[in-house]
């Protein structure tokens, strides 16, 4: 479903991503973990076709993001970091725009928008402009935009960041409902929700994958048996090695 092959990216002297590779199958929810500035968002932006990699490739449903960008992007739903949205639009207007931009029209567009509104549970705010919505609802509108065309691969950059516990639970439930039919990559630095949401986790630090396994297996790498302990140990180790 998703095949990441040795992606690399530098910004000037900063080597942000240094050869990240992994594969993701249908039915997997992969937690993409790492400290701030580890290269998570840069990697996701390269997979989404927003940023051109210096080297490597990403195959989305078998299509290369470099050689066949538009086809690859059609198979992808992407929620960028911070869920940027057009604030002057209402959620249905925004979703209609996204659907049209994806080449959907007529009944398919109408159905897609209605389904996304129902799935993301945003029907109560449909008359308001996005600019006046709370953070939680904005995140859900962004999520609706990402799932609207029912893509086989989902890329969600911190989908639960800044949400209250109830909203977090709602987003987790939505992801769980979609999980069996899709390959989902979720970046987060809220470690506590990883075991509840993800079936597999990857830790990146300084642009490199430093651990890959189930959340339980990762937790075992620490002395206290928690994911947080493992995270601290792994990223500290990487820091010590590079120092």
């Amino acid at each position: 479903m998703l095949d990441i092959q040795r992606l690399e990216k530098s910004f000037g002297a900063k080597h942000a991503v240094r050869g990240v590779s992994f594969r993701l199958e249908k039915g997997t929810v992969l937690g993409f973990l790492g400290p701030n500035g580890a290269g998570k968002s840069t990697t996701m932006r390269m997979i989404a076709g927003v940023l051109e990699p210096d080297a490597g490739d990403a195959l989305i449903d078998g299509k290369s993001i470099l050689a066949n960008r538009r086809e690859a992007q059609r198979a992808l739903g992407y929620l960028p970091e911070g869920a940027p949205l057009y604030e002057d639009m209402t959620p249905p207007e925004f979703l209609f725009f996204m659907a049209s931009a994806r080449g959907m029209n007529g009944v398919a567009r109408k159905d897609g928008v209605e389904r996304a509104i129902a799935d993301a549970r945003i029907s109560t705010v449909c008359d308001q402009r996005i600019g006046s919505l709370s953070k939680g609802y904005r995140r859900r509108v962004g999520l609706a935009g990402a799932i609207l065309h029912d893509p086989p691969v989902l890329l969600l950059d911190e989908p639960t960041d800044g949400l209250d516990p109830n909203q977090k639970r709602a987003v987790r439930a939505l992801i769980a409902r979609m999980a069996p039919h899709k390959a989902i990559l979720i970046s987060t630095h809220t470690l506590t929700e990883v075991p509840a949401m993800c079936t597999r986790a990857i830790v990146v630090d300084r642009g490199l994958v430093i651990a890959d396994g189930t959340p339980e297996a990762l937790a075992k790498k620490s002395e206290d048996g928690t994911l947080e302990g493992a995270f601290t140990r792994l990223t500290d180790q990487a820091e010590a090695e590079s120092a």
Binding site: G49, V50, R70, P84, L85, Y86, F97, S100, G103
Partner: protein, 252 residues
């Protein structure tokens, strides 16, 4: 070929509708139209003394078009790309399976449509001269059309510069400066200066890139093919730059 065109221009309709909606969803378009019409009115009546010229034509009205476009159209175009970048929505846009030509044209044509609405709202002026006398309506129609083409050229500068910087204010200031250069190049003051340094040939070359000089024939009601080609070519050139500068963002 058809597939290629569909890929490149696929997002045109969606982009055009979204941008046009954005102008009218906020006070932006209304403020622009109101102030533009007010300024045009003030200049036509107060500075050109519309009623005192004694002839039934719109020359005292059209003469201000390049100068007002120079200030107002960069204000209309400045948000097109800079706004996307400051709101982060460019990331959303670049993740969609769209072609850059469709995006560039969709945005440019949305702004062009708003400027066209502004131009159409000056129709009472045209009606007035018809009430007061019998002007050459074909000539006026033609001047309107070339003025509309000229508006596109001014907007294309603003849109391209907007893609270059992330700030609307910077985009506005730089666009006005560039627009001023292309407008004032045909100013007699500038031309005589150029002539004294580079000779007549130099002055003619500079004038041929000037909006004032290119618009001059149309103001007299003469359809000049070179002016039409100039404005369309100029717009196409800046739209291409716009596409290149917007694509550059993918490189990081």
């Amino acid at each position: 070929m058809m597939v290629w065109l569909r890929e490149q221009f696929g997002g045109f309709t969606a982009t055009y509708r979204r941008e046009l909606g954005a102008y009218f969803a906020t006070p932006m378009a209304y403020v622009f139209l109101a102030v533009f019409l007010l300024a045009l009115g003030v200049f036509t009546w107060e500075a050109s003394r519309f009623f005192d010229t004694g002839s039934a034509d719109l020359a005292p009205f059209f003469v201000w078009h390049p100068w007002l476009y120079m200030i107002f159209l960069p204000a209309l175009a400045m948000r097109l790309w800079a706004d996307e970048r400051s709101a982060g929505t460019d990331e959303l846009l670049l993740s969609l399976p769209l072609g850059m030509p469709g995006l560039v044209l969709g945005k440019l044509l949305a702004a062009w449509t708003v400027s066209g609405v502004g131009l159409a709202l000056t129709a009472p002026m045209w009606v007035t001269v018809n009430v007061l006398g019998s002007p050459d309506n074909a000539a006026i129609m033609l001047t309107y059309m070339v003025s509309f083409l000229m508006a596109g050229a001014y907007l294309s500068i603003g849109a391209a510069i907007s893609a270059l910087t992330g700030s609307q204010v910077t985009a506005f200031v730089i666009s006005v400066v560039i627009a001023f250069i292309f407008t004032a190049a045909g100013w007699p003051v500038v031309l005589s200066g150029v002539k004294s340094v580079f000779g007549t040939g130099g002055a003619e070359l500079v004038a041929s890139f000037s909006f004032l000089a290119q618009f001059e024939g149309a103001q007299r009601g003469v359809l000049e093919l070179r002016a039409v080609v100039f404005f369309l070519g100029f717009t196409a050139f800046w739209a291409t730059l716009n596409g290149l500068w917007a694509t550059r963002q993918r490189l990081g």
